[in-house]
């Protein structure tokens, strides 16, 4: 454990996060599409890539943001307005709820961040009604939120907590493999959904990994 000043996460940090996630979605477009081809309709890669490309473009087009909320709202609205499918409303709501929870400030502290992500998770649940074990993005996002909160509560710093969250998201993603899908397109397959990794949980793991690598400035 390292002792540092309480980290603040500012608009620039969120901006890095969005761009890093957009790059990850682009890099892993084919993986996401292949996972979706197995138990869905082969578009999750295209959806996330299109949405995050549009989000970055919208962020670029705006003349800067004076609050974290404004940036997150811009991303959320762009996702709602450009993705469609299940992931559009779900990711869109995730970001819009984070925005709503972000107040008006230009920077947040670590606890705020955990609160934001948890609010976002709540939005995903409100919109999609997913429950644990349904084999959805929830199954990666919920453990990530829990790990982030627990890690901070136990006194770890934000970098450590985000690293823990990323590991939890990865584990949650991997845990979707043996699940029987109860929500989304994969549920149409019944037993045949077992043995496949959920595409939405996979993109969520990318999202959390991107947070871990961008929200905290590198030491030094």
């Amino acid at each position: 454990m390292t002792f540092t000043e309480p980290t603040t996460v500012d608009v620039a940090a969120f901006d890095r996060w969005i761009r890093a996630f957009a790059r990850a979605a682009h890099t892993h477009k084919e993986l996401l599409t292949e996972l979706d081809a197995a138990i869905g309709d082969a578009d999750h890669g295209a959806n996330m890539d299109r949405g995050m490309t549009a989000a970055v473009a919208a962020v670029d087009a705006a003349a800067g943001f004076d609050s974290v909320a404004a940036l997150l709202k811009c991303v959320g609205l762009t996702l709602v307005g450009s993705v469609g499918g299940a992931s559009g409303p779900l990711y869109g709501t995730l970001f819009l709820r984070m925005a709503a929870a972000a107040g008006t400030g230009a920077a947040l502290d670590a606890a705020d961040l955990a609160r934001l992500l948890t609010a976002g998770l709540g939005g995903v649940v409100d919109r999609g009604k997913a429950e644990p074990g349904d084999k959805t993005m929830y199954d990666a996002l919920a453990p990530a939120c829990a790990a982030l909160t627990a890690s901070l509560d136990s006194g770890q710093d934000l970098a450590e907590a985000l690293a823990a969250a990323a590991l939890a998201a990865d584990a949650g993603r991997d845990a979707t493999v043996p699940m029987l899908a109860h929500k989304g397109r994969a549920s149409y397959l019944g037993e045949r959904s077992i043995g496949h990794q959920d595409p939405g949980a996979t993109s969520v793991a990318l999202l959390v990994r991107a947070a871990a690598t961008t929200l905290v400035p590198a030491h030094g």
Binding site: T33, A37, V80, G84, P89, Y188, L189
Partner: protein
Amino acid sequence: MKKLINTPESVVSDALLGIAAAHPDLSVDHINKIIYRAEPTPAGKVALISGGGSGHEPLHGGFVGLGMLDAACAGEVFTSPVPGQMLEATKVADAGAGVLHIVKNYTGDVMNFEMAAEMAAAETGVEVVAVVTDDDVAVQDSLWTAGRRGVGVTVLLEKVVGAAAEERRPLADLAELARTVNRQGRSMGVALTSCTVPAAGKPTFDLPEDQIELGVGIHGEPGRRRVPLAAAREIAAMLVEPVLADLDFTGGDPVIAFVNGLGGTPLIELYVLYNEVARILAASGVQVARSLVGPYITSLDMAGASVTLLKADDEILRLWDAPVRTPGLRWGV
């Protein structure tokens, strides 16, 4: 991947340009990817709006016109449109009597239409009611899943409720009629090949030469099980039996029988299948009053077919027979 397209990215907007060029009766908003009637919705008529991922043509854009839809939103291939499109379509088509959203039951479609309705409520005074179709018996229905998919019955519903809307019936009535049609319709599909999503560039699933995928939807989702390739007669039985097992169509009610092509299967095969379907229905005591055979709700270039049965009554048959003038269905006018 071999397709008559320019780029995977432009396929939807290029097709919309083609629809606009081919059908002067229709207007196309290329920004919002909305197809709507060139003539404004007459005052007092409830507007019918549908939409969904592209790749199911003629559904939905090809069903815009007199006697069916007032507007349709085109999403990316197999991806529900976004709420903004549906909101725009709602605004464009509303003529003061409210708007019926016809939504196929897919998580994405339902959520995006829900958000559109929320936006419409917040931003406009337009009254919106949504009805969801979920007729696919291949999917086990349960409170704990996404429920059944909306497939073939959507076509029949758009026709029947569209005809009722032309009669200036109020929104609540139309919604009730739509729910009735959905409740009385059931479908089941089979794929002989996968489809190829343009952006993916290769078939969604691999199907050996001697196997077929039973219980597929219209998005290249794998079905419920693979069975050996069989004669049309046996395939017809595999499609019709689960439909009849799910709902009793033998009570003497007139039935609309719809054999649908999934995009890559030519008409000659659909007629072969229809013959076997009709034979089974006759033997089962189902009274077919009307039929529809052709590719009306497709899954890109997938070879395969689906069977939809709709338990009708004299009123539904009358609405089925009513004039319709759309690119996809046209009669009586």
